[in-house]
């Protein structure tokens, strides 16, 4: 079946602009995660959604970062007033709620000039 998909695959933006990154989880997966992969920080957890529960936002690095999940499926990660240190690959993953196994998408490479 179809895996996790993310769009765009690459995004180049100018410092100070807002960006939106999209994630489509595997059909039927109710848990959705965002991670960031950067040279300096490695792989970091950002945010976790599970059904209608309040999301776990403990990994968001600043209030410029936000995410939402509409209809329990698609998720959008928004970065406002981007900074150069936001340059990274943003990875989305999904899982069945009763499973401990997360499946990752191909990522969105964000470059902030």
């Amino acid at each position: 079946g179809a895996g996790v998909s993310q769009s765009p695959s690459n995004k180049v933006t100018e410092k100070g602009k807002d960006v939106e990154l999209r994630c489509d989880p595997i059909s039927g997966h109710t848990a959705l995660y965002w991670y960031r992969q950067s040279l300096g920080q490695g792989l970091e957890f950002l945010i976790y959604f599970q059904g209608n529960s309040a999301p776990d936002k403990s990994g968001l690095p600043s209030d410029r970062f936000s995410a939402e999940r509409t209809g329990g499926s698609v998720s959008t990660l928004t970065i406002q007033r981007t900074q150069q240190e936001d340059s990274a690959v943003y990875l989305c993953a999904s899982s069945l709620v009763e499973s401990n196994t997360q499946y990752f998408g191909p990522g969105t490479r964000l470059t902030v000039l």
Partner: protein, 113 residues
């Protein structure tokens, strides 16, 4: 809190030689352990996982890992590597009430002919 240590940032090895990629974790609660592989310019793929039961787990492409609770380790091994195994390998832990994965810094396996 959990943490993962991958001491080797890069492991060069000749084709058909055996390899071991080391992973140690720290946790005060029971954990689930994972190895993910990332091929160049691709997302993370699940290689194998330990959730419970047998401490030796295997992947379909010849890798295996053994959960050692006393040594808090989950080293990845393969008896004979191929050029196509060249990739970055990430060890990850998930434990307690948290749903996020904590990743190590990754080990680049570089297989040479």
């Amino acid at each position: 809190a959990q943490s993962v240590t991958q001491l080797d940032s890069q492991v060069p090895v000749f084709e058909e030689a055996p390899v071991e990629l080391r992973c140690n974790y720290s946790s005060s609660v029971s954990v689930y352990l994972f190895w993910y592989v990332q091929y160049p310019n691709q997302g993370l793929q699940l290689l194998l996982k330990y959730l419970s039961g047998s401490t030796l787990v295997e992947s379909i492409n010849g890798f295996e890992a053994e959960f050692n609770k006393s040594q808090t380790s989950f080293h990845l091994r393969k008896p004979s590597v191929h050029i196509s195994d060249t990739a970055e390998y990430f060890c990850a832990v998930k434990g307690g009430a948290t749903n996020k994965l904590i990743f190590g810094t990754g080990t680049l396996l570089a297989v040479q002919p």
